[in-house]
Amino acid sequence: MDVTAQETSTRTLSYSEAIREAMALAMEADPTVILMGEDIGVYGGAFQVTLDLVDRFGPDRVMDTPISELGGAGVAVGAALTGLKPIFEFQFSDFATLAMEQIVNQAAKLRYMLGGEASVPVVFRMPAGSGTGAAAQHSQSLEAWFGHVPGLKVIQPSTPEDAKGMLLAALADPDPVLVFEHKLLYKMKGEVPAGYYTTPIGKAAVRRAGSDLTIVAASIMVHRALEAAEQLAGEGVSAEVIDLRSIRPIDHETIVASVRKTGRLLIVYEGVKSYGIGAEISAMVAESDAFDFLDAPILRLGGAEAPIPYNPDLERAAVPQVDTILAAARRLARREV
């Protein structure tokens, strides 16, 4: 991994602590970094990610915005255009639908429309995903929408270490970056290097090497896929698990190289299955040099063609789980599809 750590020591931190540490490090090092968002000050953010940062950096740098997603996102874009590095937190990524204009028409296009003469180094933090009983309007996984927009970068760190390293990489990036953070990951703990380091955007990570099939998973699905892979190993099936990490830019090379090796591909993501990450990766593989090495149809496991339901069993059934990944991987490995 391309980690450039000043210190090599690591501690166990939760995903949200890792994000907070990244923000604090950046704010200490660079006075132009500011945080904006709804209730990120004394409240500490809807998911307590900013927590006490307002005490450390004051309300001028940890700014509570009115309930104005469009305006707030636009202010962040304008500020980024003129010398600040704002991290704008959407309370739920679903609310970014209110700010599509500023994200898609402005942030993504300003550099291009202005012929490279402008830069919009803004970071949008997007708490996403289901599993919290928040139902249809607070549980979506809209990352693929933004993956469709040239000019944006879209990342989905799956571990505390990446959450910190990729957020710092996003802050160092001169272009707008959307960080999709799965809400169920916030409490997940993991080893996190101390000090400043960046984890490159656009590079997938092979989390488990294998030879029989490739599972490309994004965000929380990486952990479910790894759990499934562990069980598969007990059944004599060797699954390679790739953590996508970045949707735009996407790491063609790592995926294609893996599929060349295994000949079988399963893509697991939480966003609605159709027109999503899976479609993009499938098509990319079909167009690639890996085509000749495919020995089974490509399978996608994505979210149901429905809004996220409230009932916990329905909610669980609406997105891929360990058992559904396991079942699909078995079918692939056993040539049942």
Binding site: D60, G78, L84, Q106, M113, L114
Partner: protein, 332 residues
């Protein structure tokens, strides 16, 4: 200056050099747009355009005090704002012609002309798109301890966008150095302000955000300059935003597709009789800032600048086809 000076505000406030430059810029705006229209008709320009002929005083008077450190955000009818902020018409034409030498290297066209170096953050194709961005720019100035202000130009149509309300509210709660300048030219495309807007004066909406709001004759250079001057002073003093509504009129249609079915010939002619350039020039002559000959020379210089600009644009190279994805992201 004596307290009994009852010359117009602009005459008594700005130097003759500033005033002459302003007149030149008004001529430039008009000749530039006429030149663009001609080029369009000859097929040299392939997109549409939104002309501001008739609104030159609003743009130029609003910007007369600005320095390169100050910012503006503009809208789809933005050529006047660009020139008022000091843009070079040759590079503007080059952009219009889609050339590599244009302000946006041919990637933006009429609707996205910008010059970030001189504080022009760009025209914007989305109605209301520039309002939150202007607030963000003002936030940068305040946070970074700079004294610059941001002028935010938009039309009457934008005042019914949510972004307008969110932006004005945030500018007010954070006391940001931004001046919202609504160029009310009576129609949002074909829909009149009367039919689209609940308040009689758009400036009345300032009250909802606890900021000063004023409506002026947007074709009166001095009236605009005075209103914006006070707003800028308030902004620079750290007292927060203001809303200035300039009542004006576009002589041309909304865009090149406009068949002018929503306004009468009489209305258009009545507004053409209130030509802001002729009014400003007459005022300058009346107050001895310049004479007829100088005025003619300024007008001719504008014509010549425009002709040279078109030549420059025509002679410039087009972007390389292979560079279609250049500038999407920062170059490594």
């Amino acid at each position: 200056m004596s307290t009994t000076d009852n010359r117009p505000f602009a005459i008594r406030t700005y130097s003759p050099a500033q005033l002459k430059q302003a007149l030149k810029r008004m001529y430039l705006v008009r000749r530039f747009e006429e030149g663009a229209e001609q080029s369009y008709m000859r097929g040299l320009i392939h997109g549409t355009m939104h002309l501001s002929i008739g609104q030159e005083a609003s743009a130029v008077a609003s910007c007369i005090e600005l320095t390169d450190a100050d910012k503006i955000t503009s809208n789809h009818r933005g050529h006047g704002h660009c020139i008022a902020k000091g843009a070079d018409v040759a590079r503007m034409f080059a952009e219009f012609f889609g050339k590599e030498t244009g302000y946006c290297h041919g990637r933006g066209g009429s609707m996205h002309i910008a010059d970030v170096q001189t504080g022009n953050l760009g025209a914007n194709g989305i109605v209301g798109g520039g309002l939150p961005i202007a607030v963000g720019a003002a936030l940068s100035a305040k946070r970074l301890g700079r004294k610059d202000v941001t002028l935010c130009f938009f039309g009457d149509g934008a005042n019914n966008e949510g972004a307008f309300h969110e932006a004005l509210n945030m500018a007010a709660i954070w006391t940001l150095p931004v001046v919202f300048i609504c160029e009310n030219n009576k129609y949002g495309m074909s829909t009149s302000v009367e039919r689209s807007t609940a308040v009689r004066r758009i400036s009345e909406r300032a009250a909802a955000y606890s900021m000063p709001g004023v409506t002026v004759d947007g074709n009166d250079f001095s009236a605009v300059a005075e209103a914006v001057h006070h707003a800028i002073a308030r902004a620079r003093a750290g007292e927060g935003p203001s809303l200035v509504e300039n009542l004006t009129y576009r002589w041309r249609g909304h865009s090149k597709s406009d068949r002018n079915r929503y306004r009468t010939k009489e209305e258009i002619e009545a507004w053409m009789a209130r030509d802001p350039i002729a009014r400003f020039q007459a005022e300058l002559i009346a107050h001895g800032v310049l004479d007829e000959a100088e005025a003619i020379a300024i007008a001719e210089a504008a014509v010549s600048d425009v002709e040279q600009g078109i030549e420059f644009a025509r002679g410039s190279a087009a972007p390389a086809i292979g560079e279609v994805t250049r500038y999407v992201y920062a170059e490594a």
